[in-house]
């Protein structure tokens, strides 16, 4: 159970570090620090790897943070996505976007070329590529904004953690796109709960019941890799499953509240409505029961099925009341006793999360969110392992796993671990049979 100790130390250290900086800020900044990571930036050259809706959103939020931010390079596997992102950002931000044709990179190696061109890189591709991209960025001394989830399997977790040690040594700023930690209402709510507003916490629930991801039907000229990357939310190796891809936001809020991460998980799930090759091999509904070291359980239900009851949020039950994702605290009968009320806020948590990152780089303030980003991702990967195998997954067991679910190589003609069978369908995980460790 070493993970919990790490976390607690991380927390304590973070508090100490912040206090030291606050007290000695002027002294620190008067030193001519030579390490790249510790130098304050006047103009910031940003590169974006992964030009989908979220990547474009993250770049846009970086550009909004400060006029000194310039977008200088774009990387993508699909040309149409890259040009879409470019025209969107160029039309909004004008000369803050200076990406000549020579800085638009297409292909699985685009990340390396983007990293060369910038000071700060935003990693927003599907998650299996993230450990490799993060490693390359840190080796090249770049500050990094990493979208969630951080990886999809255990080897990915270890690579991210090892890379992060190097990032810390180099004093690079590393942020993670788990923006709900920047939701003002949640910050106040978490503080109130920590101060006893609902008594002792007795149980925790997370919901992520939403519709099915968009399908991009197979085109005759597509290779298998091309088809799978286009439909990345339908392939476990590309999405990490729904716990990692979506429910991670709320699971991370609970981890933040608990100031800890789950140590064991069991679960169940299946594929009731998804069917056929176009919907790959992911499950469409999941339940996971996580347990923290203090024996409190977190129940997560999530679903990707259209026209169902949908809920995206959490419920925190305490002995004298409960709290929910609307930044509210209720008495046991459901009457609101506290709510966060600031409707006129124009800045969302996603913008705050990105601005905090960019400002940390510009002002040379320490920032590293990988610890909680990786451990919340780990919880979701453990959850998927439990659901696919039908077994209880313990954290020590999970961390010992060497099993990779990724293709050996990333290129359009790569040999794929998940290939359609004779009937065109992919192999679906079978609890009781499927090996995950």
């Amino acid at each position: 159970m070493s993970i919990n100790k790490d976390v607690n130390q991380g927390r304590r250290n973070f508090v100490k570090t912040s206090a030291a900086v606050a007290a000695g800020g002027t002294i620190l900044s008067s030193f001519p620090l030579t390490s790249f990571g510790a130098r304050a930036q006047s103009e910031l050259r940003v590169g974006l790897v992964g030009c989908g809706g979220r990547g474009t959103g993250a770049a846009s939020e970086a550009l909004k943070t400060s006029k000194s931010v310039k977008l200088v390079a774009l990387g993508e596997t699909f040309e149409d996505r890259l040009s879409g992102a470019y025209s969107q950002l160029k039309s909004t931000f004008g000369n803050q976007v200076e990406v000549p044709e020579s800085n638009k990179f297409i292909g699985f190696d685009a990340y390396q070329k983007v990293i060369e061109k910038c000071d700060v890189v935003i990693l927003a591709t599907p998650p299996p590529f993230r450990p490799q991209h993060f490693e390359a960025a840190v080796k090249a001394d770049k500050h990094v904004f990493i979208e969630k989830p951080l990886f999809v399997d255990i080897p990915g977790y270890h690579k991210v953690m090892v890379t992060n040690e190097l990032a810390k040594q180099k004093q690079l700023k590393v942020a993670v796109g788990l923006q709900l930690r920047f939701e003002t209402g949640y910050q106040q709510m978490v503080e109130k709960i920590n101060n006893g507003a609902i008594g002792d916490i007795t149980s925790l629930n997370v919901y992520y019941n939403v519709g099915a991801p968009k399908i991009h039907p197979r085109q005759p000229e597509q290779t298998e890799m091309n088809f799978q990357v286009r439909n990345w939310r339908y392939f476990t190796w590309l999405w990490g499953g729904q716990l990692a891809g979506q429910a991670i936001h709320q699971i991370d809020v609970i981890n933040w509240l608990m100031n800890d991460f789950p140590v064991t998980v069991n679960g169940l799930g299946g594929r009731q409505v998804f069917s056929g090759p176009n919907q790959g091999n992911t499950y469409d509904h999941h339940y996971a029961e996580f347990e923290y070291a203090n024996k409190i359980k977190l129940h997560v239900q999530c679903r990707n099925i259209d026209n169902n009851w949908n809920k995206n949020g959490f419920h925190i039950q305490g002995t004298t009341g409960y709290a929910d994702d609307k930044s509210r605290i209720y008495d046991p009968s459901g009457n609101i006793v506290w709510r966060y009320r600031n409707r006129d806020e124009t800045i969302g948590s996603s913008q705050r999360c990105q601005s905090n990152f960019i400002n940390s780089v510009l002002e040379n303030k320490p920032l590293n969110q990988v610890e909680y980003g990786a451990k919340s991702t780990l919880a979701t990967v453990m959850g998927r392992m439990a659901i696919h195998s039908g077994k209880v997954i313990d954290i020590d067991q999970a961390l010992a796993s060497k099993r990779s679910i990724l293709p050996k190589e990333f290129h359009w003609d790569a040999e794929m671990p998940d290939m359609p069978g004779a009937d065109g369908n992919y192999e679906i995980p079978m609890p009781g049979k499927t090996e995950v460790l």
Binding site: R54, L89, Q179
Partner: protein, 324 residues
């Protein structure tokens, strides 16, 4: 300034009408589903729009009080509820089941529909009988176009002036029932009595013209651009069906206050303006133009002009409001 010129009146041409002017229920037979909503006949007339400086909690954008002429119209008795909106959102209409003509069917098929919302737009507050929220004015108007095409009647959002005329229902007081805030609980769902969520439509008393929830429950989108000085251009004349035509996404006017508002924002004259705060939770670029992530307190109700528009005018109207 250019946008001042853009403010025009909705010009309706009289056609031989012969249609009765009564309350009615619009019934849609949508295959296996039957949906309906009630429309209240509101005779045209003149009224004083805005609030006097003497009104408590009054804001400067509510003045000057000026005379406005409104043409006869029907207005939804209730705020539009989820059932019909979701039908538009989710389902392909089947021509054989709905008895639509082929020509109408083709038109209906050509109307775009919202992208699937990322999360439940009702936020768990309830669907059947509850008002639609978290949608953009574009989504509300595209729904109106769909509804108009299916029914053959031109449904749209009210102008800001039409909304206030209907809300006041002849009153000149802060609320349509008078000035006494202690009565507000009888007429409105608002911050103090909502327990943090909207209610089913029509749970409180109606206004003198039979319209429910004009104060509170959900605030309501109008057709207008928000401009704080808009009333001043009518200071010394009668405004004839004024409409401040939008040319930007924000700010647009929504009215009536909501379950999330305090009494002063529920007043008949109170004006609210949209902004990026309504979309702040949307992390994508471009942000959805169908769903507003943080407008769980704004819905809409439809109106229909008594005077009918020609086909060409109808086309121009949709082109203008939907930027087609």
């Amino acid at each position: 300034m250019k946008y001042l010129i853009l403010s025009i009146c909705i010009a309706f041409s009289f056609s031989a009408l012969g249609q009765s002017f009564d309350n009615y229920e619009e019934v849609l037979n949508l295959g296996s589903k039957r949906e309906s909503f009630k429309m209240v006949a509101i005779p045209g007339g003149q009224f004083d729009m805005g609030s006097p400086e003497s009104e408590g909690n009054r804001k400067t954008d509510e003045g000057p009080v000026h005379r406005v002429r409104i043409d006869s119209l029907w207005m939804g008795q209730f705020e539009m509820t989820w059932e019909l909106f979701e039908f538009y959102q989710n389902k392909d209409l089947n021509q054989e089941e709905t008895e639509l003509t082929e020509a109408v069917q083709l038109k209906v098929d050509a109307i775009s529909r919202p992208s699937p919302p990322f999360e439940d737009p009702s936020l768990g507050m309830g669907k059947e009988g509850f008002p639609v929220v978290n949608i953009s004015p574009y989504a509300a108007l595209t729904f109106c176009k769909w509804l108009s095409t299916v029914t053959g009647h031109l449904y749209r959002l009210p102008t800001e002036a039409e909304w206030e005329y209907a809300c006041r229902a002849g009153s000149k007081t802060a609320f349509h029932f008078g000035e006494d805030i202690s009565q507000l609980d009888d007429y409105a769902v608002y911050f103090d009595n909502s327990n943090g969520q909207y209610a089913k439509v029509g749970t409180k008393k109606a206004n003198p013209w039979g319209l429910y929830d004009m104060h509170g429950n959900v605030a309501e989108w109008t057709l207008d651009l928000y401009e704080d000085q808009f009333y001043s251009k009518y200071a010394d004349k009668v405004a004839d069906n004024p409409w401040n035509t939008p040319y930007v996404l924000h700010p647009r006017v929504y009215r009536g206050g909501s379950w999330d508002d305090d009494p002063e924002d529920l007043r008949s004259a109170a004006r609210m303006k949209s902004g990026l705060n309504l979309q702040r939770g949307d992390p994508q670029v471009p942000k959805s133009f169908w769903w507003y992530t943080n407008s769980e307190f704004i819905g809409f109700r439809v109106v229909r002009s008594y005077k009918e528009l020609t086909q060409s005018e109808i086309r121009k109207f949709w082109a203008k409001v939907l930027d087609e």
